[in-house]
C-alpha cells in the first residue's frame, strides 16, 4: 500500500530550495528556514517565485517526486516531468478505452454520477445540520432534484448530453449551497453562482484554490499508478490540459474541497480579511488566508475514514490514489465497472 507522504508547500516569495545530502533545504534570504529529509516528501508545491536548484530538480525527477508550480491564487503554472515510467500496457489500455466511444461514455457517466452523488451528500449533511426550517427545506428540495438528475444519467447517449446533465446538476447544487452556510456567515460570504478565472467573490476564490490543491494530488495519483493524466474520458483532450486528472477531480470536488471550504467559513477559521480584491473585480486569497487553507487541507488529508468499496481504513489523502488504482483495474479489464468514490 502506498504511504501517505507529506507535501512541502512553499509560499514565501523568492525562496530557494536546494538539495543537501538527502535533504531539501528551504533558504529564504540566505537563511535556512527548514531542512527536511527527502523520504518524508511525496510532493513539492511551490507558489509563484520559488526556485529549485538543478540538483534538487534532477533528484525529484529521478525519484518521481511530483513538483508543481502554482501562481498566487493556486492556478496551475507548471510541473516537473521526469522520465516516462509506469506501465505501457496500462496506458495502451487507457488509449483503447478512450477510442472506444461506448466505454468512454460508461466511464464518464460513472464520473458524473460520483460527482453529483457526492454533491448531494454535502447538501443532505447541510440539511441535517440546518438551524432554520427554511434552510432545511431548501436543501432537502435541492437534494431531491439532484437525485432525479442522477437517475437521468443512464439516458445520456452521448458525452454532450451527459455534460448537459452534469451542468444542470452542478447549477442546482451551487444555487442551494449558501443554505449550508451559517446565517451570519452568509452575509460575509455572498455567493450566487460559480465564477472562475478570475473568481468574483471570496467563496469562489476559496473553492477555486482548494480545487487546485486537490487537482495537483489527483494528477500525482494518476501518474503514480502509471496512467496518462492528459487523456480523459469526460473532459475533452486539449494540449496541456490534464483531462484525466480533471475527470478524477470531479468525484472529490464536493467532499474534499467544498465541504472543507464550508467548514472553514462556518467555524470562522477563514474570514473576509483573508482575501484581497484586485482591480477588475477578482477576489483572491492573501498570504495569511492561503496558509490557513493549506494547513486545514493537510490536516484533513491525515484523517482516516473507511473506503466504502474496499472497506479498509484509509487516510483521506490517499483516496485519489485508491481511485486511480480502481480506474487502472477497470481499464485493464480486471473488473467490470469503475465505481467512483462515494462519500458517506
Amino acid at each position: 500500500m502506498t504511504l501517505l507522504q507529506n507535501t512541502l508547500y512553499v509560499t514565501t516569495p523568492d525562496a530557494y530550495l536546494r538539495l543537501e545530502g538527502e535533504t531539501v533545504c528551504v533558504m529564504v534570504e540566505q537563511q535556512r528556514r527548514l531542512q527536511v529529509p527527502l523520504h518524508h516528501l511525496g510532493a513539492l508545491v511551490l507558489f509563484d517565485h520559488v526556485m529549485l536548484s538543478p540538483a534538487l530538480l534532477g533528484r525529484c525527477a529521478e525519484d518521481g517526486r511530483s513538483v508543481v508550480w502554482l501562481n498566487r491564487s493556486g492556478r496551475f503554472q507548471a510541473r516537473l516531468e521526469g522520465p516516462v515510467n509506469g506501465n505501457i500496457l496500462l496506458r495502451q489500455a487507457q488509449f483503447r478505452t478512450a477510442e472506444d466511444g461506448r466505454a468512454a461514455l460508461v466511464l464518464a457517466r460513472a464520473t458524473v454520477a460520483g460527482k453529483l452523488r457526492n454533491s448531494r451528500q454535502v447538501l443532505m449533511r447541510g440539511a441535517r445540520e440546518a438551524k432554520s426550517g427554511a434552510d432545511r427545506d431548501t436543501l432537502v428540495k435541492a437534494a431531491r432534484l439532484l437525485a432525479i438528475q442522477i437517475r437521468k444519467l443512464p439516458q445520456a447517449e452521448t458525452l454532450d448530453a451527459l455534460r448537459g446533465f452534469e451542468g444542470d446538476g452542478a447549477r442546482l447544487y451551487f444555487e442551494s449551497l449558501p443554505a449550508v452556510m451559517r446565517e451570519p456567515v452568509r452575509e460575509q460570504f455572498p455567493f450566487e453562482a460559480r465564477s472562475r478565472r478570475p473568481p468574483r467573490d471570496a467563496f469562489n476564490a476559496l473553492i477555486s484554490f482548494l480545487y487546485a490543491l486537490v487537482l495537483a494530488d489527483c494528477r500525482a495519483a494518476l501518474e503514480t499508478v502509471g496512467l496518462d493524466p492528459q487523456l480523459g474520458f469526460l473532459h475533452a483532450v486539449r494540449p496541456g490540459r490534464p483531462a484525466l486528472a480533471l475527470d478524477l477531480l470531479e468525484e472529490f470536488r464536493a467532499p474534499l474541497a467544498d465541504r472543507l471550504a464550508l467548514t472553514l467559513i462556518n467555524r470562522g477559521q477563514i474570514q473576509p480579511g483573508d482575501f484581497d480584491c484586485r482591480e477588475g473585480g477578482a477576489v483572491l486569497l492573501n498570504d495569511k488566508g492561503r496558509k490557513t487553507v493549506i494547513t486545514a487541507y493537510q490536516e484533513r488529508k491525515q484523517e482516516t475514514l473507511t473506503h466504502p468499496l474496499l472497506q479498509q481504513d484509509t487516510p483521506i489523502g490517499l483516496l485519489p490514489h485508491i481511485q486511480a488504482r480502481l480506474l487502472a483495474r477497470f481499464l485493464r479489464q480486471d473488473v467490470r465497472a469503475y465505481v467512483p468514490y462515494l462519500q458517506r
Binding site: L8, E20, T23, I294
Partner: protein, 96 residues
Amino acid sequence: MLVLVSYDVSTETSAGRRRLRRVAKICLNHGQRVQKSVFECRVDQAQLETLKFQLLDEINEAEDNLRIYRIPEPLGKHVMEFGRFRATDFDDTLIV
C-alpha cells in the same frame, strides 16, 4: 517510528573530526538535529537499517560511541521540549 540517535565521536585527531562531520551528515539525511549530537529521525524499518549501517560504517568503535533509542508513540506523550529550540514535526503541515 521515531528514533533518537546520539553519539560521541572523539575529535582529538583530524580523522575524528572528519568522522564527526560525516556522522552528523548521515543523521541529517534521515532526520533533524535537536541538540549538538542528538538527532530525531522518523524512519521505517528499512530506513532504520540503512541509517544504522551507514553510521556503523563511519564510526570507529574503539574511540566513538553511538546510541539509538526508539521512542514510543504518541510523541506528545513521551517527548517534552524546553528551551529555545523547537523541533519540526515532519508529518505535520510543512509550509514555508
